[in-house]
């Protein structure tokens, strides 16, 4: 049991330490109480490393595991510096309450923006290195020897001059009493033995037996279950409901309004709660957005393509002159819809509220934001609340910035003091109350000179700003610079191409549908716009799309390298088989360089076959190449689901798609062959979970054009009658 707030290094006790054991961890540990007795003593060597007498090493993981493999990667980084026995490594989540109480010793819990590893690699490695130094020091004190004379390997400490040995487990208690070293040296990645290797994940075993406990699986003594329905129109409110109609249905305990826009039924089981909720007559005030529709939003965004006022995101040279002097001018409009995250595990949280404290069990990409949401809804200071994280059944950005489900669960639990309440959203609730992929359109105008070289590019983005809605404090003078992902002058999302004259700007129009961070975020639409239009320009110039791009990448060797890698593997220099077209896409996103080459054919103008995808990524440092391959493979499912099917439309102010029958996603039969090339060039740390999604759709769209001569400029393709075969 780890949940005590007054943890001292000496008496820190660990009970269950299996990954994802948040369930067991939180149960009987009263906030601020003493450490409960555990079966065996374990010692916290430092915040990151706990060692048991049998040399089991428990590595603390602050970021969340939602499938992306960060848990294993971070453990590898700590274990590498610690030089422990990898076969005896387990992991656990510290709680955000503990982090608060200990001065944020674990840093940020945020697991968004592909930053799990790239945002914490340095301090977690330092944590492992410092723990190793403490363990060596403890052994040296025992031996009355010099620490510098000791070596470590696989949790064994050897005093080289005498050949004496001991283990981490034997000296951990003494190490825990020593003062932390001021400074530790980190290994050069070329010397890594645990990190950098394609090791199996630490969290697989329980995921194949059904033992893995997700938020929806929590079962606490005396727990009740809640089902919820919020006003189907965003911005509407709850008027009233007829409680008498359902209060005598089996298992029903309580019906509670939640905030000003939702109502929940609490029952002994979730099924009974949902059944009663379905039968509950509810009247809503649909509010000012009751007539809103996708058609209206599209119309407004189209006006934005020509609006005078816009925020400038990137500018170089003189775009007006370049366009005026162009030998050939190319222009095209593109559009990208709202899309739902549709995590397989619907939103859920379990809350236990009393006057003095509030505890929450939930899947979250940000324990700290979940804690803040808990405190807010509980009406208690954060120091009297805590959140026990569970592995997520999918995150994709839905569970990072938004903890609406946590606030709801706490609000409901507040009506039942001392009784834990588990809130699960139905799939319909989940799909119609998401924070959706932002809605945008783009107009691109390019200038080619008489040699067919690109001399100028104008990109107008019209549409929604996530930051304006979610983090208004991060706006810069009214502008959302995050809108320009993959179009920026520099940084993690710099434009890949060297174009002498350019102007990229954003006419902001925010429809009432709440936007959110959706795996890949603005890179998704921006790379469709940019990479498909570059393809259009190449064809207008009569040039090979690879050669056209290569010339524009001459000052960007890393992007060039990933592009060349996919072209070479795909056999770009040889013709594709008859009827098959190849398409390329390249970008820098989340600090990594990625490219893809797709091979597709289109039959009878509707049957789309994606034969093969070759994808390359240069994330700088590759902590676990196998996990990177898995993220790249999965990125094509997420990204191509979006391209083929992904669209949430609005009618009468509400989202029309309610479940997987109307919000289709890619299934196994449609999965193309994906070949991955992981090519870390070293020297920087890029993200992995999101970048590749951005190249999935444009590579396929460009391949469709190569195969059929048809240029599709609107996502999803189902609206153009295309179906994968």
């Amino acid at each position: 049991m780890t949940h005590t707030h007054d943890i001292t290094r000496r008496n820190f006790i660990v009970g269950t330490a299996a990954a994802g054991a948040g369930l067991t961890l939180g149960f009987y540990a009263p906030l601020g109480g003493t450490a409960p007795l555990a079966a065996e003593q374990a010692h916290e060597v430092n915040a990151w490393v706990v060692v048991k007498p049998d040399d089991t090493v428990v590595i603390r993981i602050a970021r969340s595991e939602m499938g992306q493999g960060t848990l294993t990667g971070l453990a590898q980084l700590v274990a590498e510096e610690l030089e422990c026995d990898w076969s005896k490594v387990t992991t656990e989540y510290p709680t955000p309450g503990q982090n608060l109480a200990r001065g944020r010793v674990w840093g940020s819990f945020f697991t968004t923006g592909s930053r799990g590893i790239r945002g914490s690699h340095e301090y977690v490695r330092q944590g492992g290195a410092a723990a190793r130094q403490l363990l060596i020091e403890a052994a040296a004190i025992r031996w009355k020897a010099e620490p510098a004379e000791c070596q470590t390997a696989a949790s064994v400490i050897t005093h080289v001059p005498t050949g004496r040995t001991t283990t981490y487990g034997a000296v951990a208690g003494e190490a825990a009493d020593l003062a932390a070293p001021f400074d530790v040296a980190l290994k050069d990645p070329k010397d890594w033995k645990i990190a950098g290797k394609p090791l199996p994940r630490l969290d697989t075993a329980d995921k194949v037996t059904g033992k893995q406990v997700y938020g929806t699986d929590i079962n606490l003594p005396g727990m009740l279950n809640a089902a919820i329905k919020a006003c189907p129109v965003f911005g509407g409110t709850l008027k009233n409901y007829d409680e008498a109609k359902v209060s005598r249905m089996p298992g029903v305990r309580k019906i509670v309004p939640v905030g000003d826009d939702a109502v929940a039924v609490v029952a002994d089981t979730w099924w009974r709660a949902q059944k009663a909720l379905d039968a509950l007559p509810v009247t809503w005030d649909f509010g000012p957005n009751a007539k809103a529709s996708s058609t209206d939003s599209a119309q407004t965004l189209r006006q934005g393509l020509e609006a005078k006022d816009a925020y400038i995101g990137n500018r170089a040279g003189d775009i007006d002159a370049a366009l005026a002097n162009a030998a050939t001018r190319v222009e095209a409009d593109y559009a990208y819809p709202h899309q739902a995250h549709a995590t397989m595990e619907p939103m859920n949280a379990t809350a236990l509220w009393t006057k003095n404290k509030c505890e929450v069990w939930c899947p979250t990409q940000s324990g700290e934001a979940a804690l803040a949401a808990t405190a807010r809804a509980a009406g208690l200071p954060r120091s009297r609340c805590d959140v026990y994280k569970l592995h997520l059944g999918g995150g994709f950005g839905r569970r990072g910035a938004f903890h609406d489900f946590v606030e709801q669960a706490v609000t409901i639990a507040k009506e039942l003091p001392g009784t834990p309440v588990k809130l699960i959203w139905s799939r319909e609730e989940d799909m119609t109350h998401d924070h959706y992929h932002p809605l945008t359109q783009a107009r691109l105008v390019g200038a080619l000179d008489e040699n067919g070289d690109l001399t100028g590019l104008r990109v107008r983005i019209s549409g929604q700003s996530i930051i304006a809605s979610v983090m208004p404090g991060r706006m810069s003078s009214g502008a959302d610079m995050f809108v320009f992902q993959c179009l920026a002058k520099g940084g993690d999302h710099a434009i890949s191409y060297d174009i002498p004259n350019l102007l990229f700007d954003h006419a902001m129009h925010n429809p009432h549908v709440p936007p959110g961070f959706w795996r890949g975020v603005n890179a998704n639409q921006n790379v469709v716009y940019m990479e498909c239009f570059i393809d259009e320009l190449a064809h207008a110039a009569g040039k090979d799309p690879l050669a056209f791009r290569r010339k524009l990448l001459s000052k960007n060797p890393k992007s060039l390298a990933v592009l060349d890698a996919v072209a070479e593997r795909a056999g770009w220099d040889k013709p594709a088989q008859a009827g098959v077209g190849r398409g390329l896409a390249v970008c820098k996103a989340y600090g990594s360089y990625v490219a893809a080459c797709a091979e597709v054919s289109l039959k009878d103008t509707r049957d789309l076959k994606i034969h093969r995808i070759v994808a390359a990524t240069d994330p700088g440092v590759a902590v676990n190449p196998r996990q990177i391959e898995m993220q790249m493979e999965g990125s094509f499912v997420y990204g191509l689901s979006a391209l083929l099917y992904g669209e949430c439309t609005v009618k009468e102010g509400r989202i029309e798609q309610q479940n997987f029958d109307s919000y289709e996603v890619m299934r196994l039969a449609e999965m193309p062959q994906v070949e991955t090339i992981v090519m870390p060039s070293g020297g920087f740390w890029g993200g992995v979970g999101e970048p590749t999604i951005a190249v999935a759709a444009p590579a396929v769209l460009n391949a469709i054009f190569a195969a059929s001569g048809k240029r599709f400029r609107q996502v999803p393709l189902k609206n153009a009658g295309l179906r994968p075969t």
């Binding site: 194949v208 059904g210 089996p250 619907p346 999918g394 997420y638 029958d661 196994l668 999965m671």
Partner: protein, 151 residues
């Protein structure tokens, strides 16, 4: 009172007869390995076996289950989590978030029981489950790897 045979044990359940099997398993028998994903038999996260056939338990009222039918859930698929599918899944690190995997493993196990060496086309037809992390490529590899090993 409804009588069921789940993972080899006879159980009595005090539930309404229209309760879907999924919720009977999860909320009355504490067998939470079987997941809720859609509630309308679309995603396959709730797949279990009834007399060896794959059934989507989220849309199956408990009173429609024939008397004496043998229900097997992910918890009962193998005594030690060592069904060839489960072993192949571990070897290839198939799961990412893992939420859909119990349903997919049950579906794949039923396929192999009937068809020890399925072709790619047969796998396409049998595995219609949704996985949002996108583990499909490894699911296919995992089924091929498990095929031919003794089930």
């Amino acid at each position: 009172m409804v009588k069921l045979n789940v993972n080899g044990e006879a159980v009595d359940l005090d539930v309404e007869e229209d309760t879907p099997l999924l919720w009977a398993l999860r909320e009355h028998l504490d067998l939470t390995g079987t997941k809720y994903g859609c509630g309308i038999a679309q995603c396959g996260a709730c797949a279990v076996h009834i007399d060896g056939e794959v059934v989507l338990s989220c849309a199956l009222p408990i009173d429609s289950i024939p008397k004496g039918a043998k229900i097997v859930t992910i918890e009962g698929l193998s005594p030690k989590g060592d069904h060839p599918i489960q072993k192949a899944w571990v070897e290839l690190d198939v799961p990412q978030c893992g939420y859909c995997q119990p349903g997919i493993i049950m579906t794949a196990a039923a396929l192999l029981a009937k068809n020890p060496k399925p072709s790619d086309a047969e796998i396409d037809e049998a595995i219609t489950n949704i996985c949002r992390c996108g583990t499909y490529a490894r699911i296919r590899q995992g089924i091929h790897r498990a095929a031919g090993r003794r089930v």
